[in-house]
């Protein structure tokens, strides 16, 4: 499979990896059967390969679905929105590709310089999305009461909220906890 770091080619590379892993897993099942295992035993003994190829097949489908949906959205979206959506798509594709570099080096024509270039593009993509990060998550449109977080509120008043929540702790409802009389005081005076 001829490697290039364009988004559609990387997605096809996931398919190439799945197909080649599937070919190998199938061969290994057959070999085990020939060696006297039952088909069920042979499948069990090929379990690690099977799980991994199913996962890569799924990740290829995720990338393909995201790419198709984003390309479709870009046909009607404004140019600035289209640009950020395509950047998001590139980021997730690079991120997934960097997680299976062993497979890409094994089953495609990817070389070490290709890998260096992929890493460079990944870092560039992070830098390109960084200025819009807050606006993207704002656009997810989750109200504060849904997020339910002291750290993630829209107004960003993190420290005030953390302190306010600490004050709600049942242990802060009275200045001295009853355990002082029960345990701490006798303990400190050697009377426990």
């Amino acid at each position: 499979f001829a490697w290039s770091d364009s988004t559609p080619v990387i997605i096809e590379a996931f398919q190439a990896v799945t197909a080649n892993r599937l070919r190998l897993a199938n061969e290994h099942i057959q070999q085990r059967v020939k060696a006297g295992r039952t088909p069920q035993e042979a499948t069990n003994e090929t379990g690690l390969e099977l799980v991994r190829l199913a996962e890569i097949h799924c990740r290829g489908f995720i990338l393909q679905s995201a790419y198709a949906a984003i390309e479709q959205a870009c046909q009607t979206a404004s140019r600035p929105l289209g640009e950020i959506l395509r950047e998001i798509c590139r980021l997730v594709v690079y991120d997934e590709a960097l997680r299976i570099t062993g497979d890409l080096l094994r089953f495609t024509t990817m070389s070490d310089p290709d890998l260096v270039e992929l890493q460079r593009k990944y870092e560039a993509s992070l830098g390109a999305i960084r200025p819009n990060a807050v606006s993207i998550v704002d656009a997810f449109d989750y109200p504060d009461f849904i997020l339910g977080s002291t750290l993630g509120a829209y107004d960003g008043n993190v420290y005030e909220r953390l302190f306010e929540d600490a004050m709600k702790s049942p242990l802060n409802q009275e200045p001295v906890n009853r355990t002082f009389e029960l345990y701490l005081k006798p303990f400190m005076r050697g009377k426990l």
Binding site: L53, F61, I62, A133, V134, S135, F140, Y142
Partner: protein, 473 residues
């Protein structure tokens, strides 16, 4: 508003409202979502009466059941006023299942997500008339009991028996040993008074495999467990504690034969068992649930990323240039690599769930004409997507938590309950490794079909070109 966040927002290069419309799925959906949120936000009864992350296990249940029942009643009232079909349970789904409304999860969740859909999926028309309306109106509250203490995803291993007694026209349900006790079903502990029970059906001395049965488990007036039923709650968990998971054991418990759910398979008066036309028909419900899980996981990861990104712009940490002040944490590349892929992943998962949902709808249309061709393909894809989405979301929430340092460790940051939700999804509806193996089994099958030159289904058609040409390294 924090000054750093204002600065960030001023740098935006795109129209945020346009993005939101695209993300939510159009103006109509966005308006409905905001109306729903506005309504919920303005009901004082919907707020927690105690901060739940300080509450005990018992307090969590008592508070979540208070909120769930109030939300259902108030929402039904509103829907009636607005002229919606208040009997359509789908109207309640977003509110009842939306974990954001009840952080510790809703004890009525399984009633809406499994019990009601199962009556539709497994009940005959007559049985749907008998129970569906009552369930939608919450006159009865149900759970769905499949998993047992000793058996999970492997259905054929279930031990609960349902033996037909021809003399009385009844089914006798038994839990032969402790490993046969139903274990896990949400709402089963203290909430439900009915339950759909999966059990091995025996008639005329033969086992006909697993079948669903409608079983009343508690008295409708007193809520006391019925004689022959042993029931309770399974205890505290890593998360998901409002959902009220329970256990259930049977000792010679009798139900009428007419409580055997008979949309697909049938048990006749003389004990004759009629098999379902196709065993893959059961896939439909499983696929539906797994698509919902993938959708929920995408939303969950997007929420976690929202929290972590905002925090990372407010929080300052170290200097990059010694002559300049402390920078926002997000300016460190090592922080960007934690946060930004989570945003991208959440979006990709959401778009994939939408795609799978379209496939699901198309397959439902095919099923009405008796065409089951795409069900195995859809099932295989739903299996691995549920696994990848829940595993990646759990990992993503954890990365978001780590990106918020010590503050992310506080329960008030809300990563704990999000992590609880994601890891629960890795566990329920099939353990992830088992699901990957189910997908792999399908892939091996279609690979061998491709080797024989057969045409494959769309999502695996790419395999054809690799199967027909020799392997090269």
């Amino acid at each position: 508003v924090n000054k750093d966040l204002l600065d960030e927002r001023s740098k935006c290069t795109f129209d945020k409202d346009e993005f939101t419309l695209w993300w939510v799925g159009g103006k109509e959906k966005l308006n409905a979502k905001r109306d729903r949120e506005h309504f919920c936000m303005n009901q004082p009864e919907f707020r927690d009466s105690v901060p739940l992350h300080f509450a005990s296990h018992q307090e969590v249940y008592e508070e979540t059941i208070r909120k769930a029942t109030t939300i259902f009643s108030k929402t039904r009232e509103l829907l009636k006023k607005q002229g919606y079909d208040a009997n359509n349970f789908v109207n309640f789904m977003d509110i009842m299942l939306g974990d954001g409304f009840i952080r510790e999860v809703n004890p009525l969740r399984i009633h809406f997500s499994m019990f009601i859909p199962s009556i539709k999926a497994h009940g005959s028309a007559e049985q749907q008339d008998r129970w569906l309306q009552k369930a939608v109106n919450c006159e009865i509250i149900g759970s769905y009991a499949q998993t047992e203490l000793g058996h999970g995803t492997f259905l054929r291993g279930l031990e609960t028996t349902a033996t037909f007694d021809e003399e009385t026209d009844e089914i006798v349900i038994n839990s032969p040993r402790l490993s046969a006790y139903k274990w896990w079903p949400g709402g089963l502990g203290l909430t439900a008074n009915h339950c759909i029970v999966m059990a091995q059906l025996y008639s005329k001395g033969r086992c006909h495999g697993v079948n669903p049965f409608m079983v009343q488990i508690r008295d409708e007036e007193t809520h006391m467990p019925l004689a022959g039923i042993e029931i309770g709650e399974i205890g505290n968990k890593l998360g998901y504690n409002g959902v009220n998971n329970g256990f259930l054991g049977f000792k010679n418990f009798r139900i009428p034969r007419s409580n055997t759910l008979m949309k697909n398979a049938k048990l006749l008066r003389d004990g004759t068992y009629q098999k379902p036309i196709s065993s893959v028909l059961n896939y439909g419900t499983m696929v539906f649930v797994r698509v919902m899980i993938t959708r929920n996981m995408a939303q969950l990861l997007a929420k976690a990323a929202t929290i972590a990104v905002r925090y990372s712009c407010v929080r300052r940490q170290s200097v990059i240039d010694p002559n300049k002040p402390e920078v926002q944490v997000i300016d460190h590349q090592t922080q960007q690599v934690k946060l930004l892929p989570q945003i991208a992943k959440a979006i990709a998962l959401k778009l994939t769930a939408d795609n799978l949902w379209k496939m699901y709808e198309a397959t439902q249309v095919d099923l009405e004409t008796g065409n089951t061709d795409r069900l195995p393909e859809l099932h295989a894809m739903a299996c691995c997507l549920k696994a990848v989405s829940s595993a990646d979301t759990a990992a993503g929430v954890e990365v978001c938590r780590l990106s918020c340092g010590g503050h992310g460790y506080l329960t008030s940051a809300n990563f704990l309950s999000m992590y609880g939700l994601a890891t629960a999804a890795s566990t329920y509806e099939g353990e992830n490794t088992v699901l990957y193996l189910q997908t792999a089994r399908y892939l091996v099958k279609v690979w061998n079909q491709a080797l024989k030159g057969q045409r494959l289904m769309p999502t695996v058609r790419y395999l054809e070109q690799y199967a027909t040409k020799p392997a090269k390294r």
